[in-house]
Amino acid sequence: MKKVELINVSKSYDKQVDVISNINVTIEPGEFFVLVGPSGCGKSTMLRMIAGLEDITGGTLKIGEQVANHLSPDKRDLSMVFQNYALYPHLTVQQNITFGLDVKRMKKDEQKRKAEEVAQLLGLTEYLGRKPRELSGGQRQRVALARAIVSETPICLMDEPLSNLDAKLRAHMRSEIRRIQRSLGITMIYVTHDQVEAMTMGDRIMILHEGKIQQIGKPIEIYNHPANPFVATFIGSPPMNLAEAELDELNSQLLIGNDLKLPLPEGDYSELSKRLLTVGVRPENLHPVTVETAAGSSFEVTVTNVEVLGNETIFSFQVGASEWMAKWTGQWHINIGDRLPIQMDFATLSIFDREDGQLLKKTIDQSHHVTQHEVGK
């Protein structure tokens, strides 16, 4: 186990604009750390900089306690799994697995023992003699994984390792990778564009956008308290609904998208009233109106689209200039064009500064605890 520390790391090509800038993060020993962001956000570049495959043009990279900026990739004591697996086509599965050990001149029988051990762990035993082209996509992925594990390096980097697999296999491999990482205690840095992978696998995740850190934190923390509108819409499916809003302190209400008026609970809103606002609300926080619904916090909307998914129903409607979605559990008979009353609670809103995207008001904590009564529902 080793920690990885990035201090003010940046990357530019030909001294032009930085493609990555001001990266400050410490990845703790044994942590499963996920780098997530849309394609082109710089996450792969960052991983490759940690691996030593790209030069670091600014800042310091520390692996363990050692400055690693100019270490060659093989001196960094790490392993890497590539998106296309990078298996050597002319070598057998066993030779592929032991490739790195062979480079380090490990004894042959020792190599063989280790290969068999790791093949056992990943269910590859009967394929050890085959060439990569004789394997299925999932098996190749396992070989790539085996190659990383067998090196017994304290740090493992993975660059979208599951994106070439079909959905079912992907879900299975998610938990398998997580299981192996936990049992071996490796420090894992995992790159993906898939927010589901990030949410389900990461101890902590870092969201990158245009080469800048948007937010670092535990998945649930990020889901509940996105630092800015980008994170809010990137994490969660369907994404958080956003709309421009204004605070009307005189009437003690929030005007959302020039359309909905939400009464404000008691409190001090002087911070909010000075700025232009963007409000966000998760689709699951737009509820059907019930008997207890407080007067004034319900609205009538016109349904523009409906998807019934068996255990939940998602429908969309227009708020100001933006299209919003609501997610109700269960199956609802809703038709396009229906006028529907929905309710929204001020407490569940996230409010951002429209200019710099900063989070001004967090939503309340909504987690449930099995042993206790439901909190804040």
């Binding site: 490759r48 691996a51 030593g52 495959l53 060659s72 990739p73 093989d74 001196k75 960094r76 790490l78 392993s79 890497m80 590539f82 998106q83 296309n84 697996y85 990078a86 050597y88 086509p89 002319h90 490739f99 790195g100 480079v103 380090k104 190659r147 090196s151």
Partner: protein, 272 residues
């Protein structure tokens, strides 16, 4: 695809007639190589007996065995030399990023526009200065670098995923070991194509050996054929043809075995 029967018969007819026409000169030479002088003058096509007399004679008249050996040494040296030099250059073009790469690449392309025959005069002088007349290095070394061969291998190297390179960097493989242990084994088919091509063209080379071999020490079979033909003119064609058959057998065999591979490899190298 299904072809109708009349079309098939028509196709086979064309195939048989034209391929026989193409192959006829070789077949004819083969037949003549077994004939005696009178048989040839009679104008027979099929020899009376498969007597190897002409073959025995041709090895007596000429140091043909020595020439064959020279041709083998020269062809195999050029083949290996080209494989080494071209694969090294192709590797640099594909797996290194460096300033001036485009310029050097352009230099390689430009060598394809300079015909060998336009440079042969100074090359002969160079050989004289180096005292490389009648030496193997004089026959082989000038042909080790080959732009076509470099491009052919480069095409193949370009298909190797860059992640393979990165994975071996992480495993701690040196640049040269990656070339040796990964790139070359993966590119076996292209190497075989280039090797066969190099062997074939060197075995058949005529002008250069003519210019720089002045005695029998390293003379190749092609020049031997010229010698044979000018000695034996009009008298013993059977012996001459026996020489021809001996000379073309290695390359024909190579071609028959590697025809499929050559055709695939060369057309890939030809078109980028």
């Amino acid at each position: 695809m299904k072809t109708s029967l009349p079309a098939k018969i028509w196709m086979y007819f064309l195939l048989i007639v034209t391929s026989l026409l193409v192959f006829f000169p070789v077949l004819y030479a083969f037949m003549i190589s077994f004939m005696t002088g009178p048989e040839i003058i009679q104008g027979r096509f099929i020899p009376r007996s498969l007597s190897l007399e002409n073959y025995v004679k041709v090895f007596e008249r000429l140091p043909l065995l020595g020439y064959l050996l020279n041709s083998f040494i020269v062809s195999i040296s050029v083949m290996l030399g080209q494989l080494v030099v071209c694969s090294l250059a192709a590797y640099a073009f594909v797996f290194f990023k460096f300033k001036g790469r485009d310029f050097i690449f352009f230099l390689f392309i430009s060598t394809m526009m300079i015909p060998w025959e336009a440079t042969m005069i100074p090359n002969v002088f160079t050989m004289r200065k180096l005292d490389w007349f009648n030496t193997y290095q004089g026959l082989t070394l000038p042909f080790f670098a080959l732009a076509f061969g470099t491009f052919l291998l480069r095409q193949h190297f370009l298909t190797i995923p860059k992640e393979l390179h990165e994975a071996s960097q992480i495993a701690g493989l040196s640049r040269f070991k990656f070339f040796w242990k990964v790139v070359l084994p993966i590119s076996k088919t292209s190497l075989v194509t280039l090797g066969a091509y190099g062997f074939l063209t060197t075995w058949n080379m005529y002008l250069w050996p003519l210019l720089i071999t002045t005695n029998q020490s390293v003379r190749t079979v092609q020049i031997g054929l010229k010698q044979l033909q000018s000695q034996e003119i009009a008298t013993e064609w059977g012996v001459v043809m026996a020489g021809v058959i001996v000379v073309i057998i290695p390359t024909l065999l190579l071609l028959f075995i590697g025809q499929k591979q050559l055709q695939k490899g060369l057309s890939q190298g030809a078109l980028k």
